[in-house]
Symmetry: C2
Subunit: 297 residues, 2 copies
């Protein structure tokens, strides 16, 4: 990296599966930004140089520091996962330079033990950013909802282990193509139907039966069709929260991500009798990318 270019700032990119978000950073301030639907699955084979050029056309000819699915086997360049436990310095030290492109990609993390394996790309940057900003205590559990919710155990400022739950994707699949789809088009709000769903999900050993039960309950007029979206979302999040709380045995959770999701998980955690604090994911991401950039500039 050229120090001269860093003095003019750089571009941070959170490049996911279906969306990407980019910010121009000067010093520690954001001077411009945009978000679009050009996630990695929207980029054709061989199309990443052009997709990257489009970012620079909007935000300037600056170095790029990226995290997320851009480093996956379907992204621009595959950057190997780092093993857990991992600290910010490990992530910064394994930053991958795309040759000749003035572009760097942060690796994701992997966890495995005798029972299971797990992977993440992008959330680790947010967790380390929130740690650097003091938004997440150095010993804590972070819940990071999205297409795939991540439960992350942070110990001594490192990501020790984590577990992924397919909640958001499953809700989208049910909403798009299932026998329940006609009732799942509304926005989800954390009212009484949502909380009923969470209670059932927390208790339940039979999620796939409870899902069909929603259809029966509507047909037999035990559930209002307009409440189905809240109830199903609550059911899935209840099962998710049970998994996360069981996994790490903690009752205090930092919920980090998009505010419209963190408020739902905060409500679900409340039903479960756990306390939570919400942290904005974009703030955390920028702090993480900045912290990585500072170790490299």
């Amino acid at each position: 990296m050229s120090g001269a270019m860093w003095n003019e700032g750089y571009i941070a990119v959170d490049w996911g599966t279906t969306n990407r978000r980019a910010w121009r950073i000067n010093g520690r301030s954001v001077s411009d930004e945009f978000e679009d639907g050009c996630g990695i699955t929207a980029v054709a084979d061989g199309g990443f140089p052009a997709a990257v050029a489009a970012i620079r056309a909007r935000l300037g000819n600056l170095p790029l520091v990226m995290a997320g699915m851009i480093g996956s086997n379907r992204g621009w360049v595959e950057v190997p996962y780092l093993p857990c436990p991992a600290a910010l310095a490990d992530l910064a030290g394994a930053l991958h330079e795309v040759p000749g492109e003035q572009a760097w990609i942060a690796p994701g993390l992997r966890f495995s033990d005798e029972h299971r394996a797990d992977v993440m790309r992008g959330e680790e940057t947010q967790v380390f950013g929130a740690l650097a900003e003091g938004l997440v205590p150095p010993d804590s559990v972070v819940c990071h909802p999205g297409t795939h919710n991540k439960w992350v155990l942070v110990q001594d400022g490192r990501i020790q282990r984590f577990r992924t739950v397919m909640t958001g994707e499953l809700f989208n699949l049910l909403r798009q193509g299932s026998i329940l789809r006609a009732w799942l088009d509304g926005d989800v709000t954390p009212g009484s139907a949502f909380r009923d769903g969470v209670e059932q999900g927390l208790e339940g050993r039979a999620l796939t039966a409870e899902l069909f039960g929603v259809r029966a309950a509507v047909l037999l007029e035990r559930l209002e069709p307009r409440d189905a979206s809240d109830y199903v979302s609550g059911l899935l999040m209840g099962a998710d929260v049970r998994t996360g709380l069981d996994e790490f045995g903690r009752r205090e959770v930092v919920v980090m991500g998009r505010p419209e999701l963190t408020r739902l998980y905060a409500a679900a955690l409340d039903v479960a009798g756990a306390s939570s604090r919400e942290v904005d994911g974009d703030t955390a991401f920028l702090a993480g990318i900045n912290a990585i950039a500072e170790t490299r500039a």
Copy 2:
């Protein structure tokens, strides 16, 4: 119904959501049959008289006796659910005549108690048919896989209660649109990956986490991509079998339906330490429609 027409036979139709199957019955013998993709969702508004005429054009101008989703709110005529417990005579007594059409539709069943509600359409006809033929004991548990698997408690020859699990539909959703889809295109066979999945599903309290775990296991080379389809199917069926065995507390199950599905559930039940016997669903359906027709002819 006119006795003269019955003497010339009738047409039995198992009319589901995505498929229909029709048989011409003379006495108790099948003299012709066909199956096609003209399920109820393939019939446009107002299109049922034409869809019925097409059946008669192929099999003859005979009375029709039908069961399945044809009697649902998205079918030809909505026929109210009968409450459980219900016997064959209840079903036959509630057969709905479509006015002026020489066509009859069997009702479905509903179950509700303080905890939950459930509905079925079509499987009840198979269960009663199998009971009439002695293929199912009068006190037994029947597992009926399909898009929605039904666990049915039969007591004293009546359907006492039942529970539906959304296994088949969920597998199809994952196969069509999920992040796992590239690995789920193979046929499912009940080998070791399937049995591993069943064990995990039987044990698991975290199905939606285990589903993402399949992605991580493939990425980290703990699971062969070619085994993912068997493993995911096993995972979902394991959770399903746990629900069914827990629900009724029995370890002997009759598995009824399409042979390619019943053999998978038989294998999953074997992993769970339960015994099973397979019954062909078409045989049971024809026996059920015949038994209903005989009470009305």
